[in-house]
């Protein structure tokens, strides 16, 4: 079996947080995204009310 290469540390891509599989799945989960669609709409309406 070939030993996989060690992950190179201290590089640009080494530090930022990376979404887990669950986070990525929820971004495209239809039911959850329908909920988020309404939440985003509410947040935007609140923002617009405060801006005008």
């Amino acid at each position: 079996m070939i030993k996989p290469a060690n992950k190179e540390p201290y590089q640009q891509a080494y530090y930022p947080p990376v979404p887990t599989g669950l986070t990525r799945a929820m971004r495209n989960n239809i039911v959850w995204q329908i909920v988020r669609f309404f939440v985003i709409n509410m947040k935007m309406l609140k923002l617009m009310r405060k801006s005008h």
Binding site: A13, P16, Q33
Partner: protein, 485 residues
């Protein structure tokens, strides 16, 4: 009877014209002057740039729309303002040059009682050698035509990737003083999405190259949002998305020169670099469109009415101060010119008092800092405030009655990161206020209740909804006035 002239028919100018049409008594005239025959929903140009929409999907003929109203449309570009009239008459006028086919170059003087300057920016590709689709080696998504050309070249690149060739794609800003990083941000993720859909992503190296000090600055000095039990800077999320999509990034960069296949840039530490590129989309810096202004005796008033950048001075506080002394109160509220009370400037056409991001210079003295963004939502808010003020001034008010300061309004940005009904996504971001107000919000300059961001499919649906809603509204179809701006 009065005449209101609107120079420019982009998001700001067309919004002002729509509401003037709605609110001014019929006795008053509204004239819109634009060199472009078409209105363009610019936020969707990025989808034209990857072949998911056509030019026709994001534009429509202004003359056709205005024909159904009492708005008098002149296809022409503004050349000079004459706010004191001339030797023959004291009535102010603007000199315009026709761009209508068959009448190109013909000059006309249009008298006005009020003038709204909403010309938008000049796309200043000339500021960087080799930048731009016409004289240079990069593509652009700043106009629908540019975006179509970008897609044509992108498809050639995709074909090469399908043949197994390796290519480097560079997307970002083409000068140290650019704004509009958001458009480049959307484009890089849409290109990434298209390459994944085509199964060729592994063949391409994609690099973000920008003048931001850190990712996620967007010319607003970045944002802080609450997430996962922490108050976190937007940089974290911007970097996270880059890593997730396998995109490299270079920030604090001023592009000095673009050659075929090579981009030369300087970074804030004063060092110089070159980056090989097979396809690059770099946003140009913006400047004013070059309007001049003359007094009654043909004396040059340009420096009095316009800032050195070419944008029009309004009721901002332009006193030069260090960053630590900047204040939310520096930002304009009424958009009225301080010298001539019947002149207003909105959208990108007004001169900001200073940057929002902290000014930076390289070790060689090169400014490398994003200019302030002036996106669709604040542009429309300014247009509505100025239209209301002009309505009230015509009714006898002594000074502008409505305000729309960028330090007192929020902005929503839905940045596409891939277009598809089920597999698409977008980063939805809101900030309040756009210009940080450290007197009101001492810790972060913004209201964290109204400043948020998230990525997901819902954002893509939102962006699609906004695309159709705003084009419907701009076409002035039945019920347009009921839709939010």
């Amino acid at each position: 009877m009065a005449r209101v002239v609107v120079l420019g028919a982009g998001i700001a100018g067309h919004t002002a014209a729509r509401y003037l049409h709605l609110w001014l008594p019929k006795a008053h005239e509204i004239v819109v002057v634009s060199p472009n025959p078409k209105w363009n929903w610019i936020p969707s140009n990025i989808w034209v740039g990857v072949g998911q929409l056509t030019e026709q999907d994001v534009t429509f003929d202004l003359a056709e729309i205005y024909k159904k109203t009492r708005i008098d449309f002149r296809q022409a570009k503004g050349l000079s303002l004459h706010p004191e009239g001339n030797a023959a008459s004291a009535r102010p006028y603007v000199t315009v040059e026709s761009t209508l086919p068959g009448r190109e170059g013909q000059l006309e003087n249009i008298e006005y009682d009020y003038l709204i300057n909403a010309t938008g920016p000049k796309l200043n590709f000339g500021a960087t050698e080799g930048l731009g689709p016409e004289q240079g080696h990069t593509v652009s998504v700043c106009t629908a035509g540019h975006a179509k050309e970008a897609n044509d070249k992108l498809q050639v690149l995709v074909d090469a990737l399908k043949r197994g060739e390796k290519k480097t794609i560079v997307i970002g800003t083409g000068h140290g003083t650019c704004t509009c990083q958001g458009a480049a941000f959307e484009y890089i993720y849409n290109v990434d999405h298209i390459l994944r859909e085509q199964g060729v992503r592994q063949q391409a190296r994609i690099v973000w190259l920008s003048n931001e000090y850190e990712l996620g600055d967007f010319g607003m000095g970045g944002v802080h949002i609450e997430r996962g039990g922490y108050i976190t800077n937007g940089k974290t999320f911007a970097e996270s998305l880059m890593v997730e999509r396998g995109i490299e990034w270079i920030v604090r960069a001023h592009v000095k020169k673009v050659e075929a296949g090579k981009i030369h840039y300087e970074t804030l530490d004063g060092s110089f670099h070159a980056l090989e590129s097979d396809f690059s989309m770099l946003i140009p810096p913006f400047s004013g469109v070059g309007l001049k202004a003359f007094g009654r005796a043909e004396n040059d008033l340009t420096a009095q009415i316009f800032a050195p950048s070419g944008f029009m001075k309004v009721d901002a506080d332009y006193t030069a101060r260090p960053y630590a002394d900047w204040s939310a109160a520096d930002w304009p509220r009424t958009y009225q010119n301080p010298s001539y009370a019947n002149l207003f400037a909105i959208g990108i056409a007004f001169a900001p008092p200073h940057l929002i991001s902290k000014p930076m210079q390289s070790a060689n003295g090169t400014p490398i800092n994003p200019a302030p963004p002036r996106t669709g939502m604040p542009s429309a808010a300014m247009a509505i405030a100025v239209a209301k003020s002009i309505r009230d001034l015509l009714n006898g008010a002594e000074k502008p009655t409505h305000t729309a300061s960028m330090a007192q309004m929020g902005a929503a940005c839905v940045a596409s990161t891939g277009a598809h009904l089920l597999r698409g996504s977008a980063a939805t971001m809101t900030v309040y206020p756009i210009v940080p107000d450290y007197e009101k919000y001492p810790e972060y300059g913004r209201d964290l209740e109204l400043t948020f961001g998230e990525i997901g499919l819902a954002g893509h649906w939102m962006k699609t909804l906004l695309h159709h809603t705003f084009i419907y509204q701009a076409r002035m179809l039945p019920g347009w006035r009921l839709l939010p701006d």
